[in-house]
Symmetry: C2
Subunit: 121 residues, 2 copies
Amino acid sequence: MAKNLNMVYLIDTYAPVLTDKQREVLELYYYDDLSLAEIAQNSGISRQGVRDSIKRGETTMLEMEDRLGLARRMRALGQQLEAIRSNTQEIVIANETYTYSNEIKRATQNIFSALERIEND
Amino acid sequence: MAKNLNMVYLIDTYAPVLTDKQREVLELYYYDDLSLAEIAQNSGISRQGVRDSIKRGETTMLEMEDRLGLARRMRALGQQLEAIRSNTQEIVIANETYTYSNEIKRATQNIFSALERIEND
């Protein structure tokens, strides 16, 4: 079975709703890039058991994504936050180069703080 | 049963994972503020049936929130985006009042566009 790398985003989002076994096997398969045989060997489950566990976890996550669309939204959000960050950086540079306003400096610092709080949540 | 207004945030987030009946009843109860008796009358279900449906839907949403924490994160995200918006507005005012940089003007417009895309998603 070919690895679907979009699964990494789904695991990032939905890992908390998987069973412990599904989560463990999916992380070894997608994050650590182990083969089915390697996971079977390390975990003492049969190769077919590993495969079934991955399939069941994937199905759960795809159904959740189909309903909530959360992984897609998180990715879109990340892109917009990156746009806010780079535009704020441009304001900092323009403010330091052409003009110098303390209000603008303070406001850009507040925006960077807000972006940091979003990322750390 | 006392209405828990935090449920409104949970319904906003998790409505897609409820059954049609649970969603309908929860929306009438929390969004439209109908009583159990009124919902029973309108929907042709018994008052006890309405109550059970609300309880089951609430339990599903609370379990999801306990695992994913999505409603809490969305609320925190909204607060930080509001901080970004008001600080960007301050940059616009400072740029128009004290200084005038086209780079800063363009960057603030890009930030507002990014905020709008996040909100409309």
